[in-house]
C-alpha cells in the first residue's frame, strides 16, 4: 500500500482517499466544519487547511488526495495560524449567545473556539444581523445569525434525502439559507439537518429550549418506528425523554433517522395515558390494584378455561424476550394452541432510504420465534379472531398490542370474550375493553432485543426509570448526572411509572402457575431463547453489543 506522512508519522492509504479521511481514520483530528463523511466535498469552511510540503499554498485536507511520499503538517506554524484566522473569521459575525443556544455543549464552533481560536476578538465593529427564528418547515427552525454557511444541510437534502429544498441566497456575508420559493423543508428526513449543523443555526422545533445537552443522559438504543431499527440515542433529563438522535451504524442507518421515528416513537413514554400499575375490571369499571391482586385474579380466571379456549396475541412491536415469554407461557403453562399477531405493514409507506412498509420493529424476530415453536404464521391473527367469533376461543391474552386500533370492526369480536387480559404501557382501545390490565414497560424502560428487516439483532436499553427498575439488577447506562445527580436534576425525585416488562409479568404469572424457570433479568430470557433458535445460538447481550449482529440468513427465511 502507498504511504505518506502526517506530522512526522507514516500512514498507509488507499488510492482515492483524502488526507482528512486518512487522518481521521488514524485518530488525528484535523478540525473541519463542512466536511461530512457521507456528503460530497464542498471545501468551503477552510478549517481543515494543512501545510503540504512542495505545495505553495495551504491545502484543504478534505479535498486533497493523499499521494505517495506526500508530507503533511497539521501542527506547523502556518497551519495553526490559518486555523486561528479561519476561526476568527467565523466568530466575527457569530452571535455570542451560547448561553441561550440549544447547540451549546455539542457545538463544533464552540469546541473549536476553545481548541483553535486565539481566545480574544480583534473585531470591534458592529456584527451583521440576519433573520432569526425562521421556521424552514414543520420541524426545523433556522437562525441566520448563527449560520456559518457550511452547506451541510443543503447537501444533505440534495444527496441523502433526495429532495432539494434548501439553497443559499444572497452573496458575501449576507449569504443565508432559504427554502426554494413555495417549498418547505418537509422531507421525511428533515431533522437530520439539525444533527449535522455544526452550529445552532438549525434546531429541532420539538426540542429547542427544552434541555441543555449536558443535563441529559444519552442511552444507546434502537428506534421502534419501523422494521429498519435505526440506531438511536435516547436523551433523558429528570426521567423524561427529551429527544432522540440517530446513532452511527454503517450497516443500518449510517448517521440518519427519519422524522417520524425521531418525533413519534417516544411521546407515549412520558404521556398522561401511561398505565400506572395493574388494573382490574370491577363492577364494569377498571380500578387500579396491586400487582399481587392482579396476578391472583388473572390466575384464578385463567383456570376456568380449557386449553382450546385460550388465544394469545403476540406483538411484532414487542421485544424478543416479551414474545418468547408469551409463547412459552402460552404453550407450557396454559397449553394454548392459538397464537397470532397483527401485521403492521402499511403497503407503500416506505421509501428507498430508511423507512420500511412494516411499522413494527420486530416482525422478523417474532416470525423466527413462531417458526421455532412451529406456530402458524400466515393469517394467524385472522384465525384467532374468527375462532373468537365462532365462540371457540373465550379467553384472550394480548401482549403489548392495540389490536382494535385501525380495526374497529373487531369491537364486537372482543365483546364475545369472557376474559381479556392485556399487557399495555398506555391506555388504548383494546385495554379499555380488558378485564385485567398489566402495566407494561416501554422499550425505553427495559433491556430487550429486536430483529430488523434485514435480520440484524439489536438491543434497546433502559433510559427511563420505572419503579421496578430501581431495584433491578439489569444494567442501566449511567450518565454522569445519573451517578452524581445535582440538585437541579430531579430524576431521583420524580414519579416513576409502576410498570414491568411484559416478559416479567408473564414469567410472574407462569411461576405461580407451575412454570419452573424464574428469570430475573432480560438477558437470562434472551440466553434461554437463543438456545431454541439456531440462528441466535451463542449470542448474548455482550455479543450483540451496541451496533447489533447480523444473523445468518438462509433461503427459507
Amino acid at each position: 500500500m502507498p504511504k505518506f506522512q502526517i506530522d512526522g508519522k507514516e500512514f498507509e492509504f488507499k488510492n482515492g482517499q483524502t488526507v482528512l479521511e486518512v487522518a481521521l481514520e488514524n485518530g488525528i483530528d484535523i478540525p473541519h466544519f463542512c466536511y461530512h463523511p457521507l456528503l460530497s466535498i464542498s471545501g468551503n469552511c477552510r478549517m481543515c487547511l494543512v501545510e503540504i510540503e512542495k505545495m505553495p499554498k495551504l491545502m484543504i485536507s478534505c479535498s486533497t488526495l493523499a499521494a505517495e511520499g506526500m508530507v503533511v503538517h497539521t501542527q506547523s506554524e502556518r497551519a495553526i495560524n490559518a486555523r486561528k484566522a479561519v476561526m476568527e473569521f467565523f466568530l466575527i459575525n457569530h452571535p455570542l449567545d451560547c448561553p441561550i443556544c440549544d447547540e451549546a455543549g455539542e457545538c463544533k464552533l464552540q469546541d473549536y473556539t476553545y481548541q483553535h481560536s486565539i481566545g480574544e476578538s480583534r473585531f470591534t465593529e458592529t456584527k451583521n444581523l440576519k433573520e432569526k427564528r425562521v421556521p424552514l418547515g414543520p420541524y426545523v427552525m433556522f437562525d441566520g445569525d448563527r449560520c456559518i454557511a457550511c452547506s451541510r444541510c443543503i447537501r444533505f437534502c440534495d444527496e441523502i434525502a433526495k429532495s432539494s429544498q434548501l439553497t443559499f441566497v444572497k452573496r458575501g456575508d449576507r449569504v443565508t439559507i432559504e427554502t426554494f420559493p413555495g417549498m418547505q423543508l418537509d422531507n421525511s428526513y428533515s431533522l437530520n439537518v439539525t444533527d449535522i449543523c455544526p452550529v445552532g443555526a438549525l434546531t429541532n422545533r420539538d426540542f429547542r429550549f427544552k434541555a441543555r445537552v449536558w443535563d441529559m443522559s444519552a442511552t444507546k438504543s434502537v428506534c421502534i418506528g419501523c422494521s429498519r431499527g435505526c440506531n438511536i440515542e435516547v436523551w433523558v433529563r429528570s426521567n423524561e425523554i427529551m429527544r432522540l438522535t440517530p446513532r452511527f451504524n454503517p450497516d443500518v442507518n449510517q448517521y440518519w433517522m427519519c422524522d417520524e421515528g425521531r418525533l413519534k416513537t417516544w411521546k407515549h413514554v412520558n404521556s398522561d395515558t401511561r398505565i400506572n400499575g395493574p388494573q382490574l375490571r370491577k363492577n364494569g369499571t377498571l380500578a387500579e390494584v396491586g400487582w399481587d391482586e392482579a396476578y391472583a385474579f388473572a390466575i384464578s380466571e385463567l383456570k376456568n378455561f380449557n386449553k382450546d379456549e385460550i388465544g394469545i396475541i403476540l406483538s411484532s412491536s414487542a421485544s424478543m424476550e416479551d414474545n418468547y415469554m408469551g409463547i412459552k407461557f402460552g404453550k407450557s403453562v396454559l397449553g394454548a394452541k392459538y397464537f397470532g399477531y397483527k401485521s403492521k405493514v402499511l403497503k407503500g409507506s416506505g421509501d428507498d432510504i430508511l423507512i420500511t412498509d412494516d411499522k413494527a420493529p420486530n416482525t422478523f424476530g417474532l416470525e423466527l420465534l413462531l417458526k421455532s415453536f412451529s406456530v402458524r404464521i400466515e393469517n394467524s391473527f385472522e384465525q384467532v379472531m374468527s375462532l373468537i367469533n365462532e365462540g371457540k376461543i373465550k379467553a384472550l391474552l394480548v401482549i403489548e398490542d392495540d389490536i382494535l386500533s385501525g380495526s374497529e370492526e373487531l369491537n364486537k369480536t372482543l365483546d364475545r370474550l369472557d376474559l381479556l387480559i392485556v399487557t399495555a404501557s398506555n391506555m388504548n382501545k383494546t385495554a379499555e375493553k380488558a378485564h385485567i390490565i398489566f402495566a407494561a414497560s416501554t422499550y425505553a424502560e427495559k433491556n430487550g432485543t429486536f430483529v430488523n428487516v434485514s435480520g440484524r439483532i439489536q438491543r434497546t436499553k433502559p433510559a427511563v426509570v420505572t419503579s421496578e427498575r430501581e431495584r433491578s439488577l439489569d444494567g442501566f447506562e449511567m450518565s454522569r448526572l445519573d451517578k452524581f445527580g445535582t440538585e437541579w436534576d430531579k430524576w431521583g425525585k420524580v414519579n416513576k411509572i409502576e410498570a414491568r416488562a411484559s416478559w416479567k409479568i408473564l414469567n410472574g404469572l407462569g411461576v405461580v402457575m407451575g412454570q419452573k424457570l424464574k428469570y430475573n433479568m432480560a438477558e437470562e430470557v434472551f440466553v434461554d431463547l437463543s438456545k431454541t433458535i439456531d440462528k441466535l445460538s451463542g449470542l448474548d447481550y455482550r455479543a450483540i453489543g451496541e451496533t447489533g449482529v447480523q444473523l445468518k440468513l438462509t433461503n427459507t427465511n
Binding site: I41, S42, G43, N44, C45, R46, M47, L49, K57, L58, I60, S63, A82, A85, V86, E88, F89, F90, I92, N93, P95, R122, F123, T124, E125, T126, K127, N128, L129, K130, I148, A149, T167, F168, K170, R171, G172, D173, R174, V175
Partner: protein, 441 residues
Amino acid sequence: MHRIVLPDIKNLQEIDVYLANQGYYGARLAFQKSPDDIIEIVKKSGLRGRGGAAFLTGLKWSFMPKVTSKPKYLCVNGDESEPGSFKDRQIFEFNPHQLIEGILITCYAIGAQTAYIYIRGEYHKWIKPVQKAIDEAYNNGFIGSRMKETFGTQFSCDIFIHKGAGAYICGEESSLMNSIEGQRAYPRVKPPFPAQNGLWGNPTTINNVETITNVPPIIKNGSEWFSSIGEPKHPGTLLFGVSGHVNKPGVYELPTGTLLTDIIEKYAGGVINAKRIKCIIPGGTSMPPLKGDSIEGLKMDAESLRAAGSAIGTGGIIVMDEDTDLVKVLARMTKFYYHESCGQCTPCREGTGWMLKILKRILDGKGTKSDLDLLISIANNIDGNTVCALGEAAAWPVKFTIARFRDEFENRVNESIQIPVNNKVHSMRKTKNPIDNIEIR
C-alpha cells in the same frame, strides 16, 4: 505598428468587410492542419492568456484529454467584470468575426463541438452585435453543420452566447461553468481542473475573449511572426484600457513591453492638468497598485510588472493624480469586493466585510493606528486561504495600498479624534443590517 485584435479597418464587424480582409481564412488554414499542429503553433507563438493570469494558451489547450468518450467544451470568458477593464467589449463591438473565427480554430484544436461565449449581464448592448455576427456566420456556413461544406472538413461546432446575471465572481472560470450549468455561481474546489472535470463534468477549456481573438492572425501569419511582436516572454499586443485622471481615456492596442509612461503620455494624452501621478493600478483593481514615482521605465508585460511588484492582470490601467484620496479609493475598491464576494468560503465572506467596516470607520475619522496593521493582518489571513482568486483580489489592494502609501493612511488615522464605540450589537438589534448603511461614492 501592429494591431492584431482590433485592426484599423472600418466596419470590420460587418461580415462582408471581414471576408474581404482574409476573414475566416485562418480557420480554413487551420482545418487543413491537424489539431495537434494548431496547439503546437499556438504554443510556439508564446500566446499567453489575456484574462489576468497570463498563462500559456497552447499549454492550457494541451491539458485537454486527447482520448475521451465525453463531449468537450470551450468557454469563452467575456464576463469582463474587473474594475478598470473594458477591452473585450471593443472586440464584441468592432471585431466579433475574428472572435468567432478564433473560437472555431480553438474548438478544432481541443476537439470541442460546442462553445459558449459567456457575456456579463451588464453588456446588453454588446451581446447584440455578437449575436448578429454569430447569426451571419451561421447563415454563411461558417458555424454549425454547414461548416463541413464550407471548409471541406469533417469538423463542425456550434457557438452559443450565455448571458450572465451580473456578478463579478462569474468571471472566475469554475464559477462561470456553474453559471452556464444553471447553478449558483460558486467557484469550484480545484483540483479537479476544468480540463478533466469542467462543464457538466466534461473536459473544458476556458479562454478570455481577447486571447481567442489573437488566434486567427497567429494561424495566418505563423508563430514566429507573433512571437516577434513585443516582449519575447509575453509576445503580441495587449488591449490597454486606460482610465482615471488622463486626458484621453480609452482602449489602446499596443505591443507588450510598451512603457507605462508612454501609454499615459503618448496615447492617453497625459494626466489631466499635468498633475503628478500619485498612484497607478496597472492591471485592474485586483492587482497591487504602484506609486506614481516608481513607474519610470516600467514596461507593460507580465514579467516586468511582476518584477515591479504588481501584475499585468487584464491591462486595465487606472491613473490617480496627486489629489486623490487613497483611503477613499481603497474603501471603494474594498466595497466592490465585499459586494461581489460570493459568500462560499469563510475568509473572503467574512474578511471582506470586516475590512470594509474598518475602512469606513477610518473614513469617518474614527480610525486608529492599530487599524492599519489589523487591515493588513486580515488581508494576509484571506490571501491564499480561499477557494478562488477573489480572496487575493480583495486582499491585495488592501495589503499593497496600505503598505505602499502608509504615510497617507497614518495621517488619516492620526487626524481621527473620535474614539470608536465598541460592539453595539444589542442596541442595534432593531436596525437594518448595519453594513447596508455604508455609503461610499
